[in-house]
């Protein structure tokens, strides 16, 4: 009995029902109805994905659904992995969204949908689009022909664009973010369209089976062109430097549950695309392909986390961290390609397994972190860490859940991120077995990049947790925060449970990951991980990790030491006392370190890379130049790549536009002249061509 097909059909039906519910239900019930349907979509997707990961294959051709090419769907273990990840995130986020979209208790009140203006997240449009976005996330990995893939890819981009713009009436920055996202995602689509169209033309068919069959007969130049075009488009979706500019704008400005979906499910599909096209369809390629992927990944990992270290906007920080983590995933994918190109299938399977495990881990903790950031945003209306603080006392559950996510993100045991980074490091360290000087030069640098990004990630999440949630509130709005409603906590609780399970028993995924790497085309490689629920044991390399035992040892140690201290300290009761602060007495919130001050030493160390802009403006008193009336200090750390690469292009386009305006003076004679010259030029060109 094949469960994949019915589950996907159920997901599509529920998405349709949810979309209709978003349009017709009154605002009071809208969020609950849409949330329930979205959770159902996610659960169905998770079921389909898990079934496919178990080794079930499913395919369907629906020729009547679309004119010309019809719809082709096929699900293997590789699709199943990304489908299951997306499904899990969607299910949890659906629950979370029920609470998130409800108006806040204080201040906000229910705006009648029909009479009043559309109200951000709860608006009819935003609620109707959410289940559709969810179902495209599930169906993109199931597409098995070029036209189906492009259609679903574009639907995913459009629905997410609509959701990013949900709060455009509230903030002008949403509109700017929407424009950036729309332009960049469509430039990506153009590249993807060009690459896949070229591929389909050369391979003589547009189904994935035809592409796979035709790949061998293509010339290396054509294969390389197809790979570069598609990989660039996919890398832009995955937020790789320098095509990341949309990501730190769109993710913070979207409603938080949409940010969670985008950051934990949508960007993964960039990695999926590279794996699918590079490994499965094109059947691997020369070393330079994978060197490009690896270099882009390593660069994005370091650059992304460095920008996150400088960010004081909580959601922007998380968005840059997404860029970092997808960078790590692509380091794994690139390394897998390099090893496969050198003929070492076992190492390639290990690297690809590490990359896929990191996709799963990243999705779990990043969805949790974005949801927790959303509940902070909902409670305080603030994203600026410099103005937050003191939330641990006011929102203890959210703070605890954020801490679980942050532990995963810093890649330290007993967090879930550590397991996949450990695997990635193992594959790179043992990659020296691949002959050639290239490996000896590239792999140490890649290890150093991963290590630097891990070290900076520790600083980033200590900052996010310590400055955002600990100490004293730095603004009245942070002081007035109240705990999130139960639906939001339940959604986050689901994600936290996933994080804990992934951290303690990652070995249970060994089978599924093996199927997925085999489906990616690394056949004959056998298993990279041996199956053992409690341990991660590599099949061909003497390496063993027992995350559960590490966690047990740490917990037992903490209990033993605290009990022992209690005995030695003669069980005296703890007394509360004022903070000492070197005799300065109780400090106020203004004295505490902010996110900006926390990042200052790192900013100084990486001064040459970040190029901060600093502005000191001293206004003297009118009577004397020596008496200072006012000093204004301003520092901005702009995204340097954006500054250097995008700004000149945008300026040039604006200049061309301004110049082009001179052509249109309003004189009808001139326009007729243009028409005349245009026609004559065309005729001359035609005559010359013949």
């Amino acid at each position: 009995m094949n469960a994949v097909g019915p589950a996907l059909a159920l997901a599509a039906a529920l998405a349709g029902a949810g979309s209709v519910a978003g349009l017709v239900t009154p605002p009071r019930w809208r969020a609950a109805a849409v949330g329930a349907c979205t959770t159902g979509v996610g659960a169905a997707g998770l079921a389909a994905g898990v079934a496919a990961l178990g080794g079930t294959r499913w395919s369907a051709a629906l020729p009547g659904l679309l004119p010309l090419a019809g719809v082709q769907l096929a699900v293997d273990a590789l699709s199943g992995l990304f489908m299951a990840v997306a499904g899990g995130v969607i299910a949890a986020v659906g629950v979370y969204g029920i609470g998130y979209a409800r108006p806040t208790g204080h201040g906000g009140h229910l705006v009648a949908g029909a009479a009043g203006p559309a109200h951000g997240v709860l608006s009819r449009g935003a609620q109707a689009v959410l289940p559709l976005f969810a179902v495209t996330l599930l169906l993109v990995p199931a597409a098995s022909s070029v036209s189906t893939f492009l259609l679903l890819w574009e639907l995913m981009a459009l629905t997410s664009l609509l959701l990013v713009c949900a709060e455009h009436r509230e903030r002008a920055s949403v509109r700017e973010a929407g424009t950036w996202y729309a332009v960049m995602t469509h430039l990506g689509l153009v590249l993807l369209l060009a690459g896949l169209a070229l591929y389909a033309a050369r391979a003589g068919g547009e189904t994935f089976a035809a592409l796979r069959a035709g790949a061998g007969a293509m010339s290396p130049a054509a294969r390389g062109t197809v790979f570069v075009l598609t990989a660039t488009a996919f890398a832009s979706k995955a937020g790789m430097v320098p095509l990341h500019a949309w990501l730190p704008r769109a993710h913070p400005e979207a409603p938080s549950h949409v940010s969670a979906l985008m950051s934990a499910a949508m960007v993964n599909l960039g990695a999926y695309g590279i794996i699918r096209v590079g490994f499965d369809l094109l059947g691997g390629g020369p070393r330079w392909w994978w060197l490009l992927v690896l270099a882009a990944g390593a660069l994005s990992a370091v650059y992304g986390i460095l920008q996150a270290a400088m960010a004081s906007d909580l959601k922007r920080l998380l968005a840059y961290s997404t860029s970092e983590n997808l960078g790590l995933v692509l380091v794994g994918v690139g390394a897998a390609g390099l090893f496969a190109a050198a003929g070492n299938q076992a190492l390639a399977a290990l690297a690809l397994t590490a990359a896929m495990l990191h996709v799963i881990n990243h999705s779990a903790f990043k969805a949790l972190l974005f949801c927790a950031a959303g509940s902070v945003l909902r409670a305080t209306g603030l994203r600026d860490l410099d103005a937050l603080g003191g939330l641990r006392a006011r929102m203890p559950a959210t703070a605890g859940l954020f801490a679980v996510g942050a532990l995963g993100a810093v890649a330290l045991p007993p967090g879930n991120g550590f397991v996949s980074e450990w695997l990635l490091l193992q594959s790179l360290i043992h990659g020296l077995a691949v002959p050639g000087t290239l490996a000896a030069v590239v792999l140490p640098v890649a290890v150093a990049a991963i290590a630097l990004s891990a070290g900076l990630a520790a600083a980033v999440f200590v900052k996010a947790l310590g400055v955002g949630f600990f100490a004293l509130p730095r603004s009245p709005r942070a002081a007035g925060a109240v705990e999130a409603p139960p639906a939001m906590l339940a959604g986050m609780g689901l994600l936290a449970a996933c994080c804990v399970a992934l951290a303690l028993v990652p070995g249970t995924l060994a089978d599924g990951l093996t199927h997925a790497t085999a489906a990616a085309g690394l056949r004959g490689s056998g298993t990279a991980l041996t199956e053992n629920g409690l341990q991660v044991r590599l099949a061909r390399i003497p390496a063993l990790l027992s995350p559960l035992w590490v966690a047990v040892a740490l917990a037992a140690g903490v209990l033993a030491v605290s009990a022992l201290t209690g005995v030695v300290a003669r069980r005296r009761r703890r007394r509360q006392a004022r903070l000492w602060d070197c005799g300065g007495g109780a400090p106020t919130a203004r004295m505490a370190y902010t996110a900006t001050s926390f990042a200052e030493p790192l900013q100084r160390v990486f001064d040459d890379v970040l190029a901060p802009e600093q502005d000191v403006d001293v206004t003297p008193v009118r009577e004397s130049a020596y008496l200072v009336e006012r000093v204004r200090f301003q520092r901005r750390i702009p995204d340097r790549i954006e500054h250097r690469v995008y700004r000149p292009v945008l300026d040039a386009l604006t200049g061309v536009g301004t110049l082009a305006r001179r052509l249109a003076t309003g004189s009808v004679h001139r326009y007729l002249g243009y028409g005349f010259f245009g026609l004559v030029t065309l005729l001359v060109a035609l005559a010359m061509a013949q």
Partner: protein, 332 residues
């Protein structure tokens, strides 16, 4: 009969291994304050002072333990848990690292990357505690500590990389046992470069001169002390003990990696006892050398520290390359 013998022999191996592991932890806990006392004494004598005696840190711990535990208001679980985590992470590392024997029950899981990560966990929990107090000093210490840690991480992992090349594994007992059986690995340029790089890392991780001054208080230069200013009584005792254990276990790790002689590789009780004795000697020698060197060093300015760490990173990178071209390529 032979089966029964084999089972009992296996039991004996396990028993000796487990005993060696427990001995490692106990020796690190008991010896850490003594090592600090020894280092302070050496330093005092070289500076022409009498010194307080080797056992003074233990007397400090006893004194602090008897005091009333105090929780500063508005601090939370992060502040309470950090001293415990600092001690426990150092204890877990003491159990994992083959200080006395490479045949302990956890030797299969004693991965060098795991050790590095557990060490970082202790640092991160202390940095969070510093931020939890909400004082300017706490935040300052946390910020500086995280900066140093972020820059140290590449050096550590590249050194791990270099060390794992000859052994073909990042498993610590495999690396140590391999070095013990093939001493030539240590004399190679790669071994020497990795040793220097890791030594700098140990100085940075344990907050010694020239990265941080453990003797300073209430100066704008301090890093570690700034984070723990609010601790008092038993909590402070744990923090002190935890930092001393970190220093001991990291010096022990250096000794195991670069002077592995005497570490038991089998299940003999005599070898384990010899290993224990040699561990004490090796760590004491390293500690005395460090203390003597510290008399002549000045603390670096905070923003000169990255230069030192960049230098050690370069050494580690050279170690990997040397290791690859001298052993990896040569043996093939």
């Amino acid at each position: 009969m032979s089966g029964a013998h084999a089972v009992s022999a296996l039991g004996a191996v396990r028993g000796v291994g487990a005993a060696a592991m427990v001995a490692q932890v106990v020796v690190v806990i008991g010896g850490a304050p003594l090592l600090t006392g020894l280092m302070r004494q050496v330093r005092a004598r070289m500076e022409g002072r009498a010194g307080a005696g080797i056992a003074q840190p233990w007397r400090d711990v006893r004194k602090l333990m008897r005091k009333e535990p105090i929780t500063p208001v508005r601090t939370g679980p992060a502040f309470r848990a950090a001293p415990l985590l600092l001690v426990v992470t150092a204890g877990v590392i003491a159990a994992l690292v083959p200080l006395v024997s490479t045949a302990t029950p956890v030797s299969g899981s004693a991965d060098l990357i795991l050790v590095v990560a557990v060490l970082a966990l202790g640092t991160v929990s202390l940095a969070l505690a510093g931020l939890d107090t909400g004082t300017a000093f706490g935040g300052m210490g946390a910020s500086r500590e995280m900066t140093v840690i972020a820059l140290v991480e590449p050096t550590i992992l590249l050194s791990v990389f270099a060390l794992s090349i000859p052994a073909g594994s990042t498993n610590l007992p495999a690396i140590v046992a391999g070095a013990e059986h093939h001493p030539g690995r240590l004399a190679s340029p790669a071994g020497a470069l990795a040793a220097v790089a890791l030594a700098v890392v140990v100085l940075a991780e344990t907050g010694r001169l020239p990265v941080d001054n453990p003797a300073t208080h209430l100066e704008l230069t301090m890093v570690h002390e700034a984070m723990v200013l609010e601790y008092s009584g038993p909590d402070l005792a744990l923090v002190e003990l935890g930092s001393q254990m970190r220093l001991t276990v990291l010096l022990g790790l250096l000794a195991s990696l670069f002077a592995p002689w005497g570490i038991a590789t089998g299940a003999s009780v005599g070898a384990a006892c010899l290993g224990l004795l040699l561990l004490a000697v090796k760590v004491a020698v390293l500690g005395v050398l460090l203390a003597a060197a510290e008399v002549f060093w000045a603390k670096l300015r905070l923003f000169r520290v990255p230069e030192l760490l960049a230098g050690s990173f370069l050494l580690a990178l050279l170690a990997v390359t040397a290791s690859y071209f001298l052993t990896g390529e040569g043996s093939r």
